[in-house]
Amino acid sequence: MESATKLLFVSAILRLAFFSFGLYQDKYMEVKYTDVDYMVFTDASRFLYSGRSPYLRETYRYTPLLSVLLLPNNFLSPNFGKFLFMATDLIVGYLIIKILAKYGNLTALKRNILASIWLLNPVVITISSRGNSESLLIALIMMAIYFLLVVRNYYLSGFFLGLSIHFKIYPFIYLTSILFYLTGQRHQIYNLINEKSIKFSVSCIVTFFTLTSIMYYYFGYEFLYESYIYHLVRVDHRHNFSIYNLSLYFNSSIQNKDFFNKVESVAFIPQLLISFFIIPLKLSKIDLISTFFVQTFVFVTFNKVITSQYFVWFLCFLPFYLRDFQKNTKSFLYLALWILTQGIWLSFAYKLEFLGISTFYPGLFFSSCSFFIANVLLIGDCIDHIRSKDLHITPDSEKKNN
């Protein structure tokens, strides 16, 4: 058996093992294994199955397409969705191996080790086997990358990216990177309009609008509100990793706000400016997938809400980023800081959530600030790493520094 097949086989076995343990935990243990969101999808698909709107389930904030995909939960097995998510999770791993093969300088062993960051990652396995849908979304994005870089079918690539944006708005940040990447030659940003980019963007836009129109036709404003608008107007008062969290909690309780206190309404400016414009502009031609990695990292770091499942959004690009990474103390220290600050935040959050102690300030606040800074340091490090690969830029800047 080929080594990649072996890896996938082991990965599948691991997922089944986690899944089976989940069945046991759900039945006999106090805390359930199955993700609360899985119950939400299941309920929503049950409504759909009985001919009603999936939005009858409170907190269902996804496209109706997700409940369509989960319809077999109602007649085949209530675990169908978990198998679907575990399967898409394996597809992501398979695509990672396939896309890595594009880089000729990597040995099969190295490719497998890199793919293991995803395939054998207990966090990833847990998330999909608990019934979280993130892996489905990641698979769509990976398909877009696979068709873009390996197959070079720009229609299909655009189709998958459009589909992923329909699923969860944020993948639109990859649009700019791909368009810059498709300009081909360096320093020709005016060359944004070309055959490849037209194929890609038309396909992407048509897919997104067709799907969204179909869903709007069948499910109306409720679909638009719950899937998209809600995310723009939501009150994120509950504690989470985001640096904005405490500000948002304060602001949500105040009726008359002056401009200074409207953090939530300007938070998207640095977030989008950096992740949607500047990073694609500066990095996408050097290393497209590593650019995705940094973009997503920035997007999540500067977001108004951060929960640990968002980390999967950039974790899937990590194998590509690390393929030519040289071990160094600085990166290691930043990573250690990232883990440490997260740990500190979690300990304050535990005290708040389970012991009822008010740790909002200074505990939670400063630990989310520290976590934010750790993220930013890592982002800086990643930018350095990607830029160091650009032979044309590095000598220039070295000259300047001299």
Partner: protein, 567 residues
């Protein structure tokens, strides 16, 4: 038709002090009776029945209560102290706190304006309710929680231990006399559907220590009945209360004479004295408080069920084997255990979590959850007072803690707290949750129907046998017993189709309430019927620091990243 207000005062004194008490009653035949001040505590219930025409005739009343009544088909306000008291005799049982249930009367004159009228009426009632319950505060900033919609009425609730001055004043205007507010229970009800012309106000004192003489005098347009009773043990059991003593009638026509009286009455709401429940929140209490309730019997042989079907031996048909009969009776699903709970908006229940199969496996079956059930919003974005939950508890499925030797059915209900408004210098927001009501609801038609069909089957089977002469159903005595009880309940002058949790059950239902177990460690005499919980909040003093630091960190980080990209 008489426009008199009828006042019926029932005083229940302990048997031991009966003679002593009666000796001291002073009667002025033409004018009044005086009850002695006493060191013996007694129970007292006052029930006023007022013809509705009498109170609604005078429109110039600035009474918020009357303004609400005019807009309602049915109205029921119940106030029950947040402290434990003995409510077993009269069956005046309500959730601890102040509950108002009402059905608005919507003018529906012309087509198309129903919705407008509805909104107008609802807004008006809400305004008046606010003024009634919050002592005429016109200040708009006073936060008033709006009512919720339940399947049978609109409902307002507040876990308060006092009534407002405005409410007291409204009652005094209606009764045309002053009242003291040291009662444990107050009920105001009006039902234009079933009891159209009567308006009722009722007070109950569980433990009166009269330090002064109690004087009842004749009054214009008033008919007052005063009864002084002791409990007649022979006529009293869990289902019935027997009273014996003297009664006085004070009206303008006759002299006041003592009348010996004894009677038995069957309340719809009964109290089980041999069973109690213990409840608590499992510590530590975080943002997801877990409520734990366990049922206890005083003696291990006492069944946890109401003794509804434990019939006197002479009712068991001679043809039936007595053990067979007992088995049969035990398997009849006549009574079900319910928990009804008013949950202030600082907390919520997750109906999806509660409807999960695993919850049902622990004996917890959510029947209804009404009101504010949003799973995400903070309490300051919630407009209504909270939510009402009704659970059916299944004892046979309940969790039995292995640690205790006896079987103590235990139930756990997960709650969630909402985020609360940040406040100056405060990091925890103090709030209250009232105790729930725990009761058995028994459907009397079930034994009637079961025994009727059993009897029919018996006749069919044994009808040919000459040895048994069957003229009628062998269970007829049991059946007629239950039928009689139903009749008594339906004819009872106190009965009308009430609002509140009773309204979720039909007229054939009797309730057996279970009381909370007293906390022996409690310092005060009165056991509180509320849980004091705190919700962690942010201190508003940190507001500026948080904003400035957030802004600075984000700005510098942004520049750092830009520098990395452009240097």
């Amino acid at each position: 038709m008489s426009t008199n207000i009828v006042q019926r005062t029932t005083i229940i004194i302990p048997k031991s002090s009966e003679l002593q008490f009666h000796e001291k009653v002073k009667i002025d035949k033409a004018y009044s009776i005086t009850l002695p001040s006493t060191i013996v505590p007694f129970k007292r219930q006052d029930r006023f029945t007022i013809p509705i025409a009498r109170i609604l005739k005078d429109v110039s009343y600035e009474s918020h209560l009357l303004k609400i009544l005019k807009d309602c088909y049915s109205f029921r306000l119940q106030f029950s102290k947040l402290e434990d008291y003995d409510s077993s005799i009269f069956g005046d049982v309500a959730s601890p706190g102040l509950s108002v249930n009402f059905i608005p009367q919507i003018a529906d004159d012309s087509a198309g304006v129903y919705e407008t009228n509805f909104n107008k009426t609802i807004t008006a009632i809400n305004q008046e309710l606010k003024k009634l319950l919050y002592a005429d505060i016109n200040d708009e900033s006073v936060l008033f929680n709006e009512f919720i919609v339940t399947p049978t009425a609109l409902k307002y609730f507040e876990p308060t231990n006092e009534i407002s001055y405005s409410l007291k004043k409204s009652i005094e205007d209606i009764l045309e006399k002053s009242i003291s507010t040291d009662f444990q229970y107050l009920e105001i009800s009006y039902d234009s559907i079933n009891n159209s012309d009567k308006f009722m106000v009722q007070f109950y004192w569980a433990d009166v220590m009269a330090s002064e003489d109690l004087i009842f005098t004749k009054k214009q347009d008033y008919k007052t009945e005063v009864g002084i009773f002791t409990i007649e043990e022979k006529l009293t059991n869990v289902d019935n209360t027997g009273l014996a003593g003297v009664r006085f009638v004070l009206d303008n026509s006759d002299d006041i004479v003592p009348m010996k009286t004894s009677f038995q009455f069957t309340p719809r709401h009964r109290t089980l004295l041999d069973i109690s429940y213990k409840n608590e929140f499992i510590k530590p209490i975080g943002l997801h408080p877990k409520y734990k309730l366990s049922l206890h019997n005083e003696k291990s042989e006492t069944p946890l069920q109401p003794p509804l079907l434990i019939q006197p031996a002479n009712l068991i048909p001679e043809q039936a084997d007595s053990t067979e009969y007992c088995d049969l009776v035990n398997n009849l699903d006549v009574c079900k255990l319910y928990l009804s709970w008013n949950l202030p908006k600082d907390f919520f229940m997750d109906k999806y979590q509660l409807k999960d199969d695993r919850m049902k496996e622990t004996g917890l079956n959510l029947i209804g959850l009404y009101g504010e059930t949003n799973l995400e919003l903070p309490n300051y974005l919630i407009k209504k007072w909270g939510s009402e939950a009704l659970f059916e508890l299944n004892i046979s499925q309940a969790h039995l803690p292995s640690s205790s030797s006896s079987s103590v059915p235990t139930f756990e209900i997960p709650l969630h707290s909402r985020y609360s408004k940040p406040m100056q210098n405060i990091t925890s927001f103090e709030t209250k949750i009232p105790y729930p009501n725990l009761f058995w609801a028994c459907d009397l038609t079930i034994p009637i129907e079961t025994f009727t069909s059993l009897g029919a089957a018996f006749i069919k089977e044994h009808g040919d046998e000459t040895s048994i002469i069957l003229s009628k159903n062998p269970y007829s005595r049991i059946i007629s017993n239950f039928e009689q009880e139903l009749q008594v309940l339906q004819k009872s002058p106190f009965h009308h189709k009430f609002l509140g949790f009773e309204s979720y059950f039909d007229d054939n239902t009797v309730f057996y309430h279970i009381q909370p177990q007293l906390d022996i460690n409690s310092d005060t005499n009165n056991q509180k019927l509320t849980f004091d919980l705190t919700i962690p909040v942010a201190d508003l003093n940190d507001f500026n620091n948080v904003h400035i630091i957030t802004l600075l960190v984000v700005m510098f980080s942004g520049f750092y990243i830009l520098k990395k990209l452009f240097h």
